[in-house]
């Protein structure tokens, strides 16, 4: 490693440690930011010599990255950006902090995938899904798929592990020469009714899908979820025991197994390590507070709200909505979510944009009570489970009240 890169690495690690010591966060962004200021090529230098997997998509990337890193741990030490800091500053921090590891699994914000592929020369890229997310500033879904497609076309040596159930992902991946398809399901289909190749309608039936006007159709997956397990490319079924709730995480586990398999890890070796993952950067974490068992679920966009309802128990539920910069300033997506599953439980609402949520729930015929703080919510519910479903900054606010639980 060049001297400049060594200095930059050292500064990056020190700054991250100082940031953590000062209680200013995880230190997962500031360190990388400083390191890249000193050496703009620092990420490339830190990536060199490691076998790397990148994981990207609108939803599930933090959890899938965590599971894939756990699975790759079978082979040796793995560097990973486990705090969800998924832009190049976060990748730089994570690799600097980890020191020399033979492997790395990095979660990548979908907007940055092309750049991070260029800089880290990954062996494997895992593509999960593409759906609407913060549309007031994010690229439209079809444009994002085009960016991915172009990025992968420039790196024909990369092995792509991609979701056969999402037409946008399939179209983005199809130009690659090494593809492994997995089926993790697609709960949210409203962003892929129109074929990105031909503009014709896409038809769906019993999990299959095809374009009515061109060649694009669902490829046969090598990995898929079946019952409470995963079927591998040889047709062998493996029971998957997770601490993380919901069908969604079973799909994330299938994806992680498929990514790890590209490095030679067998499912039977990886599965015990997947079972050891209890929470992911606070997501799914359970905290006892004043006799209440609080469980934190993150829901950032319509697809992930549907998933959160699938995971949540029938228990008092606090919903918290903000619309700060990381969340996107637009709350229109609230009407893309059907909150009807919450009608059978007490619902409390809070957050900067609680009034938007109040109007939405009234239209949805979901009774609710507005509270001004997380603490007020705790006092209002009986002892027992309190499910908390919040979008990004609202989640971080509540996590901070719970001493930054991981």
């Amino acid at each position: 490693m060049p001297l400049r890169a060594k200095v930059a690495t050292s500064v990056s690690k020190t700054a991250a440690a100082l940031s953590r010591a000062a209680g200013r966060g995880d230190g997962s962004v500031i360190g990388g930011w400083l390191g890249l200021k000193i050496d703009p090529d620092l990420l490339s230098h830190l990536a060199a010599g490691r076998a790397i997997a990148l994981v990207s998509g609108t939803n599930g990337k933090t959890t899938t990255t965590r599971l894939a890193a756990a699975a790759l741990g079978v082979l040796g030490p793995v560097a990973t950006n486990s705090f969800g800091a998924n832009m190049p500053t976060g990748h730089t921090s994570a690799l600097a902090k980890a020191g020399a590891t033979p492997f790395a699994v990095l979660e990548v914000d979908e907007h940055y995938l092309a750049r991070v592929i260029d800089e880290t020369n990954p062996r494997v890229v895992g593509l999960l899904n593409l759906s609407r997310d913060q549309l007031d500033r994010a690229k439209e879904v079809a444009m994002m798929a085009q960016l991915w497609r172009t990025a992968l076309a420039g790196h024909p040596d990369v092995h792509v592990v991609a979701n056969a159930d999402d037409p946008m992902v399939v179209w983005a991946a199809t130009g690659s020469s090494h593809i492994t398809w997995f089926s993790a399901g697609q709960r949210w289909t409203d962003d892929s009714w129109v074929c990105p190749e031909s503009g014709h309608p896409i038809e769906r039936s019993n999990g299959d899908w095809w374009c009515t006007g061109c060649w694009l159709r669902r490829p046969a997956p090598q990995w898929r979820v079946e019952d409470d397990g995963v079927v591998d490319p040889r047709g062998d079924w493996h029971l998957v025991k997770l601490q993380l709730p919901g069908r969604v995480n079973l799909g994330n586990a299938a994806t992680a197994l498929a990514v790890a398999a590209e490095f030679g890890v067998r499912p039977i070796e990886a599965l015990p390590r997947l079972s050891g993952v209890a929470s992911v950067a606070g997501r799914y974490a359970q905290v006892d507070r004043d006799g209440r068992n609080v469980r934190l679920l993150l829901a950032k966009n319509p697809a992930s709200w549907l998933e959160a309802f699938d995971m949540a128990e029938q228990a008092p539920t606090l919903l918290s909505i903000n619309a700060r910069d990381p969340d996107g300033f637009d709350t229109s997506w609230l009407y893309d979510v059907d909150f009807a599953p919450l009608r059978d439980r007490p619902v409390l609402i809070t957050g900067d944009r609680a009034y938007d949520l109040a109007v939405r729930l009234e239209v949805n015929a979901v009774p609710f009570r507005h509270v001004l703080s997380f603490e007020e919510a705790i006092q209002l519910v009986p002892p027992g489970r309190l499910e908390v479903i919040a979008n990004y900054t609202a989640f971080q606010d509540i996590r901070a009240e719970l001493d930054r639980v991981n």
Binding site: V194, P201, Y335, Y355, A358, V359, R360, N364
Partner: protein, 237 residues
Amino acid sequence: MSTESTLRIVWIYPDLLSTYGDRGNMLILGRRAAMRGIPVECYEVRSDQPMPATADIYLIGGGEDGPQALAAQRLINDGGLHRAVNQGAAVLAICAGYQLFGHSFFAKGAKCAGLGLLDLHSDRGETRAVGELRGDIDPRLGLPALTGFENHGGRTHLGPAATPLARVTAGIGNDGQTEGAWHGKILGTYSHGPALARNPAIADLLLRWAIGADSLSPVDDTWPDRLRAERLAAAGA
């Protein structure tokens, strides 16, 4: 399909134009009608289905360039929406749906023919208009201030037969001066997505047009009023 007294609401092409929570407008209209005891039926008409000409209120929402161009082409070929408008149906057209009600609009860099049901045309602005939008609605409509969130790259120019829906007091709207358009019983706006959530008075105007009533019984708007006050203050105009 329904009795004469049932109010029929059509949501046009949710498979193409529903990028921003547009379903909300159909849900809100249905709820506000039901609260007045007006029987209501909502129909989601997909782009591969014929467009009925006999409904009372038509809703069309926002979307990306490709689906917008496809929707305009299908609506022109179908003709059902033109017949409905000529028979006096009420319309709420939003964002991409608003643009395609004009004579022409731009999608994916190409000029596309619109429905020509509003006297206006749209082109691309130099910057994308993103953020809170606020305007004083044409006093002849007798409505309180418009509040919304806009997110569009287009600029819209009105001809003599269309009237601006509002004068912009915060945000961009059509061109930084005016926002939206109305003509007959057609309302168009850049206030995107579930615009009626923040503007229940516009929902009631559409209902009044559709049933030919001068007024409707009041309903409890505690939460919409709180939301309106918060967002109007946030727009800072």
